[in-house]
Symmetry: C2
Subunit: 306 residues, 2 copies
């Protein structure tokens, strides 16, 4: 129709009330990005600590705050669950009971199989409203004060819809992420968890493992004294949050164990090559790795410059 | 005596002719630093490729170039061996035969047990002149053109004198490194090799191993697609030079195998903790790692700012 905006599927619709549970870096940046785009009218921030919620209010991230999840859920048109996964046991039953019939719910958990299992357990009658998601954005800083509207620009967001999820809800959640600047990919929860076990969870465990083993040696400080920039970069992720990584490892236990086992086989193989002084095969491993990494890096840099 | 410079042990003496075998980043930067300090009068660069030697001459790194090691060795007051270790088999017999009686020889090899073994084999009558060394300086770029006089500023240099090494030679080599701005540490070749197996060689192998395993998967590119900044840093050292790292691994095989075995036990332990969902113990490993790394980083940053 002349004079109207074409209303094709996937174009973002304005959200009257966005409820963000857990107004930290992830939830706060989501609210900021959507506010900046003019796509949410009112944001209610829900949390357990008033101090953080007041920060969020003062920074204009949310318009209203509460420590009462039930109250907020009843007001939601879109509910973003950005709390630690450990809180979903308590929150999801309230969502099932109090989320308005027309509303949608999504999450930002970094593992998906466990979130989907919890949803199947607690959201039974409302599974069609649930679009599980995982924004891949760094978490070096945390809390509402760290939130910024461009956190998701050129970042991946994975969504893992269920068979039960309403396709309209998938499109709507996807469109909102795209407004945040994200590149949204859809896959099964299982593939998601296998991918992140390999490219994120395993490297974290390997890095933590190296540093802890060194620190636990009797003469560890002598060793640390000679560690240089290669060590610094290899172990950057060993400065990550211990509790958060404990939870991620446990939440993605099966996929992570599978990756860890595969990696142990890889190390067995390299130890054999080294023990037999097979320089040619070792060099081939190193060369394959270098070429793959450099190709990845080039592609990544190109996509970040778009 | 009034009017003269006090001549205490360890104060740097002027070197009339410095011979640098292998005028790359390491050897070239050494020559530049000593020239800039006015401590060498004449530098002869020795190499196999005239192209690189001419670069070195054009950049004022050396004053004279030759592809004839015997000629250069005969002229040396101080000989710096900065070639790949693989060339020492050929060079050391010439050193034994042609190095002037008063001259000293040092090296810059990144493993020391193997260099010492080669020296014992080929330098028999001249062991007192040999001060094995290892400057810990990055090698992201290579060749004479990458050389710079401040490469060694605030870097560690390890020297591993033999029982036979003349203490005067140790002091002289040490003093020259200090002129380059380095923090010189003395230890046994064995301890050196164990330390660098743990803090450098093992992390390189672990990083190469992770990337190669991923690249060799059927659907590897899907996984790479979701790798983010943690992966980028963890794998930075997997972009290192495959041939050089093959040589380092083989040269330090015993110490590296010992470290690799210890690390495999550490992974077995973490896999057990994960399999039994022992979140408390996992978190303790992560916490110990984070605290040790943060303490190391703080100390390192402080020492780099001195």
């Amino acid at each position: 129709m002349p004079g109207t905006t074409p209303n094709f599927s996937g174009s973002p619709r304005v959200v009257n009330t966005l409820v963000v549970m857990g107004v930290g870096l992830i939830g706060g940046s989501y609210a900021l990005a959507l506010k900046q785009a003019g796509l949410v009218k009112h944001v209610i921030g829900v949390g357990r600590s008033m101090a953080n919620l007041e920060d969020a209010l003062a920074h204009g991230i949310v318009d209203e705050v509460t420590t009462d999840p039930q109250y907020a859920i009843q007001k939601a048109d879109l509910l973003m669950l950005a709390t630690p996964v450990g809180q979903l046991d308590t929150i999801l039953p309230l969502v099932e009971r109090y989320l308005p019939a027309h509303a949608m719910v999504t999450d930002a958990g970094s593992t998906k199989g466990n979130v989907v299992a919890l949803a199947r357990q607690h959201l039974k009658t409302r599974l069609s409203a649930f679009v599980p998601g995982h924004p891949i954005a760094g978490a070096e800083f945390s809390g509402a004060k760290a939130a910024k509207p461009d956190l998701y620009r050129k970042k991946h967001v994975v969504i893992t819809p269920l068979a039960e999820t309403d396709p309209e809800a998938v499109l709507a959640v996807k469109a909102l992420w795209e407004v945040c600047g994200a590149d949204v990919r859809e896959m099964t929860p299982d593939l998601h968890d296998r991918i992140f076990a390999a490219v994120s969870h395993l490297p974290h465990v390997l890095s933590f493992a190296l540093v802890e083993a060194l620190a636990s040696r009797e003469n560890g400080s002598v060793f640390f004294d000679f560690a240089a920039s290669g060590f610094r970069d290899f172990t950057r992720i060993a400065s990550s949050h211990p509790e958060m990584w404990r939870d991620i490892c446990l939440a993605n236990k099966q996929a992570l164990l599978a990756e860890l086992n595969e990696y142990r086989h890889q190390l067995d193989r390299l130890a054999d090559l080294l023990a037999s002084s097979d320089g040619e095969a070792l060099e081939q491993v190193f060369l394959t790795a270098r070429e793959a990494r450099n190709a990845w890096l080039q592609k990544r840099q190109a996509s970040l410059q778009v």
